[in-house]
Symmetry: C2
Subunit: 146 residues, 2 copies
Amino acid sequence: MQLLAQFRAEIRRFLRFSEKAAAAAGLEPQQHQLLLQIAGAPDGTLATISHIAEAMSLEHHSAVELSKRSEAAGLVLRTPDVNDRRCVILELTSKGVKALRGLSEVHAQQLRELAPSLIQALTKISGAESTTASAVGENVKKGDRR
Amino acid sequence: MQLLAQFRAEIRRFLRFSEKAAAAAGLEPQQHQLLLQIAGAPDGTLATISHIAEAMSLEHHSAVELSKRSEAAGLVLRTPDVNDRRCVILELTSKGVKALRGLSEVHAQQLRELAPSLIQALTKISGAESTTASAVGENVKKGDRR
DNA sequence: CGATAATGTATCGTGTTACGATGTATTTAT
DNA sequence: ATAAATACATCGTAACACGATACATTATCG
């Protein structure tokens, strides 16, 4: 039980670090993720709205909105695909490239620090945590803590 | 570079699974996290607003608001601490306990499935990903994809 | 070949959530 | 006793995602 809680706290710490890093770089958190997924598109492919929606686990219209905000922020370029005129191709502007580079650096660094405890939590959970049925509500009577 | 993107996509998939699971149980995602962190408080301690804020990486006022919404939803109990009347103790209602139990079950299950690829991504990143400087913008000319 | 389905993107209104700024009550330190 | 620190609360604001809906383009099928 506490395993799950600890794992989530761990992940949340990472995400919160990420949010702050993005903000420090002048980006919204999701804009950073958009840049990352555009740059991280599989080799030989260009990012489309649908690809982003899939990679970011968003509905397509959320990806549309995100890409437009990011375009307005000068981070990405949206160009219609000439081959399939239903598609819109997303690419990074040089500003987007620079922002992403800096962010990727600190993120990789941070992940090197957090990886051990994350891996440990994951290992414990996938190994143990046979059931949660035992330990919900195993708290303590009011008064004797701290 | 793609390593980071893949790792984030992986995490996002898990979080999205979690959101859906919470919704299916009639909870908001953050309400679920609140329950989890209340139940997951360190042995011998009761959850306070500040503890939750710390565990969830939130500002205290966000934790206040979350706890109030969750109280209104009948999931948690907020009782003033008699020892330190600045504090508010958070506990699960039986409804909260039930919801959390079900959710923890499916989450542990899901994590057992996702753990391998998450661990793999983490390992690769903390090992390799020497620098991100190489592969930003290594995309492909428009036209030959898909 | 023309109607219909499927695909990809777009728009709008709505709700959740988190934050900063600010305020109040309680406890601790000097 | 007064100042400072701690813990919680309130309010206005903004990001973000979603469902519902719409429209254009491409695929498919009789």
